[in-house]
Assembly symmetry: C2
Homo-oligomer: 416 residues x 2
């Protein structure tokens, strides 16, 4: 509440990028306020494990106030509804907050490609609520199947469709196939689980678009070995909570439909009166500044660096983290009258978990698959997860899941 003569940096969003920007500004001579609609940071790369009953939601979330313990960083729980660039204020539910510097790091939302009804009916995987709801839907479908006397309908209920063959879709499909193989047979001794289908639909002619062709081929192979029906060049015309209709007219009935076909910039980006790149991302300079508003930085999934014609960076945590770091540094440079740095992405690699002891990884140009890739995947995700308690909880769960072939957290909580 106290007035200060220090510059006030407002960071919108406590994801990977926003938190890193705040960390860069810790103990420096500015006041920082992080604004987020949740009081916790979500470790999005592990959402699919929450959705498949492998981890509890709380294991991959960390209270923001526990992260920012620093005297010059404050937190404000609020939903940001707009930005007044001229008056240098962000608009929130209960008023507005003035800034000297602004870092926009509000991430992305699920891309429904204009199919509005799909957004209201299918399951998604962008935040903890989505993940918990997806978990409930999958498990509920099997509970319904167990009570269903009609054999045909029963087989439909045991069909889970994943729309989108990017990293999230591949990880989801693999994790559901593991559930079907190791967990559900014990839970549902009266169901014939050979009738249970896991269908992965991808519009392109390959999975994991943008990754190395060998990773694309290996992941498909591994998924098919696990019994996932991978359908490439499958364009979705319509989807709802219990079916998908393809562009060629085919209709697949299911117990649950999970939409992970892609992401796009959030509504907050749309509200900005500036140039947009692909997927509605905000075009910014190489310094991450908004053209004409050098006090405004846009980073992570929201940002398209280098103008709308430059090749966009992938919407991944490492990009957001590196940009958060640079935004913080450039603000300090600006204050010190130094020249700003330009962003250059240092790509250390990508990795996708497929199943038990199975993954594909590309690290510093080297490619791994199978058990080695899986161990790298485990280690990297454990190290990047925020909070010692969370790491311990995740380790207990992973060990439990691995040695017992179980998933401890298969609760249906759809009655809230």
């Amino acid at each position: 509440m106290k007035k200060s003569t220090k510059s006030h940096v407002v960071i919108v969003g406590a994801g990977f990028g926003g938190l890193r920007a705040a960390q860069r500004l810790r103990r420096s001579d500015v006041d920082v306020t992080i604004v987020d609609q949740h009081n916790y940071h979500t470790f999005i790369p592990l959402l699919y494990q929450v959705a498949t009953a492998g981890l509890e939601p709380e294991a991959i979330a960390q209270p923001i106030r526990s992260i920012i313990h620093s005297s010059n960083v404050r937190f404000r729980l609020a939903r940001v509804s707009g930005i007044d660039l001229e008056r240098k204020r962000i608009l929130i539910d209960q008023g507005e907050i003035a800034y000297d510097y602004l870092v926009l790091a509000a991430g992305s939302v699920t891309n429904y490609f204009g199919l509005d009804s799909v957004s209201e009916t299918t399951a998604a995987l962008r935040d903890l609520n989505d993940a918990e709801s997806t978990r409930s839907r999958i498990l509920h479908a099997f509970e319904e199947a167990a009570a269903e006397p009609d054999g045909l309908r029963r087989a439909e209920l045991m069909t889970i469709i994943v729309v989108g063959g990017g990293p999230t879709g591949v990880e989801m499909a693999g994790a559901i196939a593991e559930l079907r193989k190791h967990v559900l047979p014990h839970d549902f001794p009266n169901l014939d689980l050979t009738q249970a289908r896991v269908v992965l639909l991808e519009a392109a002619d390959h999975l994991l678009h943008g990754m190395h062709p060998s990773m694309q081929a290996t992941s498909r192979e591994q998924l098919e070995r696990m019994g996932v029906e991978v359908q490439l060049e499958a364009k979705v015309a319509h989807a709802d909570s219990r079916s998908v209709t393809l562009a060629d007219g085919d209709r697949i009935a299911a117990g649950a439909v999970i939409w992970v076909a892609g992401v796009r910039a959030p509504p907050l980006a749309e509200a900005l009166p500036t140039t947009k790149g692909a997927l509605g991302r905000v075009a910014v300079e190489q310094t991450l500044q908004l053209t004409g508003h050098p006090e405004v930085y846009v980073i992570g999934d929201m940002a398209h660096v280098g103008g709308p014609d430059a090749p966009p960076h992938p919407m991944l945590a490492p990009v957001a983290i590196q940009q958060g770091d640079l935004a913080g540094e450039n603000i300090l440079r600006h204050l010190a009258g130094k020249q700003l740095k330009r962003f250059s992405y240092s790509d250390r690699g990508t990795m996708v978990a497929i199943g038990r002891a199975s993954a594909v990884a590309s690290v510093y140009g080297l490619r791994f698959h199978g058990f080695v890739a899986w161990v790298i995947w485990l280690a990297v995700h454990l190290v990047w997860l925020i909070g010692f308690r969370n790491r311990a909880i995740v380790l207990v769960n992973w060990a439990w899941n691995y040695f017992t072939y179980e998933r401890g957290v298969r609760l249906i909580r759809d009655d809230r």
Copy 2:
């Protein structure tokens, strides 16, 4: 789905009593179906720790299907809307289920003593959803306080009122006082937490009604030493989400009001056309059978054993467990043509946790308080918790909370 000539025992409710009855009937010559509206068992004694950010909800819940792995026990996810005693069928959302024997173990619901509006506005603590919602309300009140410029309103928002001085109220008030002392000062460095109040209201002239007078006095002393304002003979005339009005006209404004003033039999008990005891509990014979319907057993919080004039048993897990065991045994005796046993409660003791290294306990007639009682409390709750994974997760959390003076799970999730 297959027909069988075996007797079909339907158990309504997978709480302590229902699960124990099922366990008693495992591998015996009957078919058992457990029906519950959730697919998980909830360890109710630790709900208050979920509500105060000490444990994740998933740590105290266990999937029912993972508990009943037995070839003659099945599970059905359904809400029971009524019972047709003449046709021997329970009515569920999607139809009905026929039984030869019925065990009613549907537990209890919060008692609002006819104050309908209170049920719609205050926070409660009867299931996982309640606990998570209570956690969100407490934390949200402090988030609002942090953004509140008016000093008086700020102090009001930092006031948490617990209504009801039974075991749950005492444990809640103690845990909130610990939050205020150890966790919130780090989270909210700009708030003056000496203004934060924890108020415990009890209508009687003592806490922990029904327990030994020394436990009543000690718990009050320990709570007051922790800064809880214990108000005895405080009768509540009205309560809503942000205030309580007492019968003497006093009004206390608050950031959250938590209603744990008592429980009563669930609506399913009301729907039964039989004699009721106090709190709407169903009057049953000493054998736990419904008078005139020897094939129907009622156990746990729902049951008033020995007719409406007999002294009622306390609504506690040990009673439900012992009755569940006896109901199972009496069904087998009935089938074998043997004489049924009468219920006799073996009271091994009671215990209430108050705070860090602080509790009161009465075990086999011996009374403990302070650190010793707390260690007993920890051990007993860990042993009774179902599932090895849950025990490991709870241990990690308790160790973390104890050594760091932290509470890891302080997430606000009120947007579902």
